[in-house]
Amino acid sequence: MTDDMVKSLSDLKEEEVLSIVKDRLDAGGDPMKVLDDCRTAMGIVGERYEKEEYFIPHLVYSGEILKEILEMVKPKLAEGEGLERSGKVIIGTVAGDIHDIGKNIVTFMLDANGFDVRDIGVDVPPEQFVKEIKEFEPEVVGLSGFLTISFDSMKETIEAINKAGLRDKVKIMIGGGTLDDSLVKYTGADAFRRFAGGAVALAKEWIGGK
């Protein structure tokens, strides 16, 4: 039964997986087990995306199905119950830019890999990054951008993080459609990754076995 759920979710069989979840919960099945299976299935979705068997629409659709499952599971969970997460990441699109497709994919992939991700949105000014870092205390900060104007915004954001005395507390990665490695030095970031898979691997490397 477990295998069916993982398979139908990772194969994006919406009706099938929803009916499996409903049957399980109706029969008094463990909601935490459902969540575990969700994570396994989403891990498979992520792997297929990496292998280019799945593309962004598949990620988006799997996210939609997941939302429906969580709606069903939530009322069955005890207070405070949920999946354990390790490693905190703040991610946002920098000031002057509202593009978020890339950022959303990275968020999705980090989430699927068990990170505690706080997505702070788009067109985020440097001072807001600083404020959120102080509050959330992440190990990793991800700056996203698509327009060429974002190059300078990233630089300014990292300068602000520096000024606030937070630079040595976080590792900073940058990413976005028009970026490349040359921007690491220019912006003062720690690394650039072109694709979401690289960003996840890097976060794992940085946060380590935590």
Partner: protein, 425 residues
């Protein structure tokens, strides 16, 4: 002997036409997509361009004539995006610099940006349940349901009676007698006046530039039927989900809007047919990663090809301006008559030359980072490589990887100089 403007015009036009026809011109033509960069070049800002479009055109004239490019474009940072009209409409579909209302403003005095339907609480996307309403009567849907969503001051359109009831004076009462109709007409009148003021300088500008010896690169504009829905109505994610949940509805809608996309292209291109054959089609949601090749061939490419073929049949040259990674699509988009289209390829243009070089004219150029944070020397070297590899045998117009917008002036000058000197065949 100094060449006359007329001779220069003919020379430049031939250079571009040869490139399009996949022949070797005398030199690689250069016509970079500027998107507001000329404002920077002229010491102006985006607010200047959007709120005083004549300034944008003057800036563009300055850039094109001083750098001696082979073609000009009507600034995308000016007449077609009038800030004052957007303010009158209280437009929710975009944010732009200098907007009257803070919520409509970009935080940096730079490019305007489109808001993804349904995101940021600015306006609601077209809900999936609306497909049937849209399919049943697209015009009514746009007028009474869509415009009220994307422009706050057009909200009263929600309350007017459908125009298809106004087939006689009996339908006039409910329409003209409605105070909401008066409200909305006032807004439309103001916006229309601002639009026509902003667009008035276009025709004299085109005339002036041609008399100075510069042909336009393109005049008409077109759209991909999938993007018509994904860019503006159902949204990127909405259409992605529709490919799984309601593929037939999505296809039906694409089929419905395909003739509209053709109509639009011809409407904008026809008035300039004698002057310019190229129709610019910026494409977005079929990019690599945005769907699988199977989905691309099922949902995206066939209707786009239909639009392009309709243009080609009318003697026009579609200019497919792709953004993002397009490598995996190259064999698919090769299915177009030889020498009848221009494709902008961001990545990977060298591979594109190998696959598409015998079929379409390519545009592309130095990378975004190189133009924005690189040195003139780096730009020069990369430009030479492009000339050698992509320019080989013709069929190439030098552009940039992504529109210039914020590029360093010295890098644009270096690219231009390299083309002029090194780009001679």
């Amino acid at each position: 002997m100094v060449k006359s403007a007329k001779e220069l015009y003919a020379e430049r036009q031939k250079r571009i036409n040869d490139a399009i026809a996949l022949k070797e011109p005398d030199r690689v033509p250069i016509a970079p997509l500027d998107n507001g960069w000329s404002l920077k070049y002229a010491g102006l800002s985006w607010i200047d361009g959007l709120y005083d479009p004549e300034k944008a055109l003057k800036a563009e004239k300055k850039a094109v004539t001083e750098l001696n490019w082979d073609a000009f474009m009507v600034s995308a940072a000016g007449p077609m995006f009038p800030g004052k009209a957007f303010d009158r409409l209280d437009l929710k579909q975009m944010i732009w610099p200098g907007a009257e209302k803070e919520e409509n403003r970009v935080k940096v005095n730079g490019s305007y940006q489109f808001i993804e339907p349904g995101s940021r609480g600015k306006y609601d996307q077209m809900p999936a349940e609306d497909y049937d309403l849209f399919l049943d009567d697209p015009s009514d849907y746009i007028i009474r349901r869509w415009l009220p969503r994307i422009a706050k001051n057009l909200e009263p359109l929600k309350n007017i009676s459908p125009l298809h009831l106004a087939n006689s004076v009996y339908g006039f009462g409910p329409l003209f007698g409605n105070p909401d109709f008066i409200k909305v007409l006032k807004v439309m009148l103001e916006a229309s006046e601002e639009y026509s003021k902003a667009m008035a300088p276009i025709a004299p500008y085109v005339m002036e530039m041609t008399q100075l010896g510069f042909p336009p690169l393109f005049m008409g504009m077109g759209w991909s039927p999938y993007d018509y829905l994904a860019d503006f109505m159902r949204g990127t994610e909405g259409c992605m989900i529709d490919m799984f949940r309601r593929p037939e509805k999505l296809k039906e809608a694409i089929k419905k809007v395909t003739p509209y996309c053709i109509e639009w292209s011809l409407m904008t291109a026809m008035p300039f047919k004698d002057l310019c054959k190229v129709v610019f089609i910026p494409v977005h949601k079929g990019a690599g990663g945005f769907m699988s090749n199977e989905q691309y061939e099922e949902f995206w490419w066939p209707s786009m090809r239909e639009v392009m073929m309709a243009l080609i049949d009318e003697g026009f040259i579609p200019y497919l301006y792709s953004e993002g990674i397009y490598t995996e699509r190259l064999p698919i988009i090769k299915d177009i008559p030889k020498g009848k289209a221009i494709y902008h390829i961001e990545s990977d243009i060298f591979k594109a030359k190998k696959i598409l070089g015998d079929t379409v004219c390519l545009t592309g150029g130095p990378t975004a980072t190189m133009m924005n944070i690189g040195t003139p020397k780096q730009v020069e070297e990369y430009t030479k490589r492009l000339i050698d590899e992509v320019g080989q045998g013709g069929g190439f117009i030098m552009d940039v990887e992504v529109p210039l917008i914020t590029a360093r002036i010295e890098n644009v000058e270096a690219m231009t100089k390299t083309v002029m000197e090194y780009g001679v065949y």
